[in-house]
Amino acid sequence: MSTPEACPMADPYWAFYWPGGQAMTRFILDHRKTFGGKHVIDFGAGCGSASIAASLVGASRVLVNDIDQYALLATLLNFRLNGVSVNNVSFSQENLLEKDLVVKNFFAESDEEKFIILGDMFYDSDFAASLFAFLKRSQKSSGTRVFVGDPDRHPLTEKRSLESYRTKFEKRLVAEYSLPGYVIREHYGFNTAKVFELVF
């Protein structure tokens, strides 16, 4: 078995198909009508599975976003491996938390419902706090709907974390999926992953 120290890249988040990303991806595939014809931003896309799902169900535009360039490359490769066209897909390495305009401009092209999807992005409560503020701004300015796939990591479940956020929101459970055995074995401590809609 190769050890974590042997990994040549720093924190290769894109190298894993995280439980939250799996739930988000499954949810999109199961809700073709919700996402078909819509503009979707995949925030922190990682391996890009949710972006691929959004393209597959006919999203009119998909913005694949990740601050790690390897994630964008991995996503492009995964589109190809899955035989999915990238004609309606754009890639962005911007830190969107500081680029509200990028989000606004992307959504300005569409009169339909707009979505920001996040698979397994909530693993650090400090980062979560700034993420919630960003999502709220986007919801207020563009009317964005926010969907989150997560296996109940602490920033979304722990009372102390939830109470610490200055941005308040409602977390609506919309789906819960059992994780396959190999995923449970790979990601310790979880056996289901949920999809929430966040309303600010």
């Binding site: 974590p4 924190d11 894993f16 693993y123 409560s125 602490h154 310790y188 401590g189 979880f190």
Partner: protein
């Protein structure tokens, strides 16, 4: 069910320990340390209980010097949700005894509600085996020590199989309770890259021991630590008659 798991930083099991020249203890400087293997087993079982949805949260606890934080990070990478580090100085760390750990745990449990405290049956450095029973005594909670199997035991209970000299003892223990893990309970998992990556940001709370009002006052004093007696080299014999002769010569066999 919320589970608090005690994990101790000890000299790694694979290290050949050396006694200090003044016989006051063993050399710990510059020596590889890791999580006490029996605590790893307790942690593994707690994470399994969470995966089975019997537990809602697993919190790792360690009382020790600054480096105990590394052990807690490992515990988080192995599936604990949170960690609590009760901090003592490097000098105090060498003097910590099971009673101090039990007292610190008792104080923590007064502030934060847990249904189960799970520790290894013993630590491989001092082999004291006292933390779990001392804690159960201080709290007046039931205990199930040397667990080799932990199962659901009906509402508010666990069914625990214990390894004892005569065989296996199965007990139903009422929660809240104190458990200790025996070797055959499970095989602990490794901390893999995805778990290490997402564990980096899990909450690790630091509590100086004085905030708990526990004083590290020695209950025992070490008189001497010495190496086990050296075994003398043996010899080979050509055949069975030679062996018999040798045994007679040494007086092990009568003529």
């Amino acid at each position: 069910m919320r589970i608090l798991v005690g994990v101790k930083r000890v000299v790694d099991y694979a290290v050949k320990v050396r006694v200090k020249p003044d016989k006051s203890g063993v050399v710990t400087e510059g020596v590889q340390h890791s999580m006490n293997p029996f605590d790893e087993i307790a942690l593994e079982e707690a994470v399994k209980l969470k995966e089975k949805k019997l537990a809602t949260e697993v919190v790792a606890f360690s009382l020790g010097g600054p480096k105990s934080a590394e052990i807690l990070r490992t515990a988080l990478a192995k599936g604990a949700d949170k960690a609590v580090h009760v901090q003592v100085s490097e000098a105090e760390a060498a003097k910590v005894e099971p009673l101090h750990v039990a007292q610190a745990l008792q104080k923590l449990l007064e502030k934060d509600k847990f249904d189960l405290v799970f520790v290894g049956k013993q630590a491989i450095d001092d082999d004291a085996s006292q933390t779990a029973p001392l804690l159960a005594g201080l709290l007046d909670w039931p205990q199930a020590l040397y667990a080799s199997k932990v199962e659901e035991g009906g509402a508010g209970f666990l069914k625990v199989t214990r390894e004892i000299d005569g065989g296996l003892d199965t007990v139903k223990v009422k929660l809240p309770a104190v458990l200790s893990a025996d070797l055959r309970l499970n095989e602990p998992r490794y901390a893999t890259l995805p778990n290490i990556m997402k564990a980096k940001k899990k909450p690790l709370q630091n509590i100086p021991i004085k905030d708990l009002g526990v004083e590290i006052k020695s209950q025992t004093s070490i008189l001497e630590v010495s190496e086990p007696p050296q075994r003398e080299a043996g010899g080979f014999v050509e055949d069975v008659p030679a062996l018999v002769n040798k045994l007679k010569e040494k007086g092990f066999v009568k003529n």
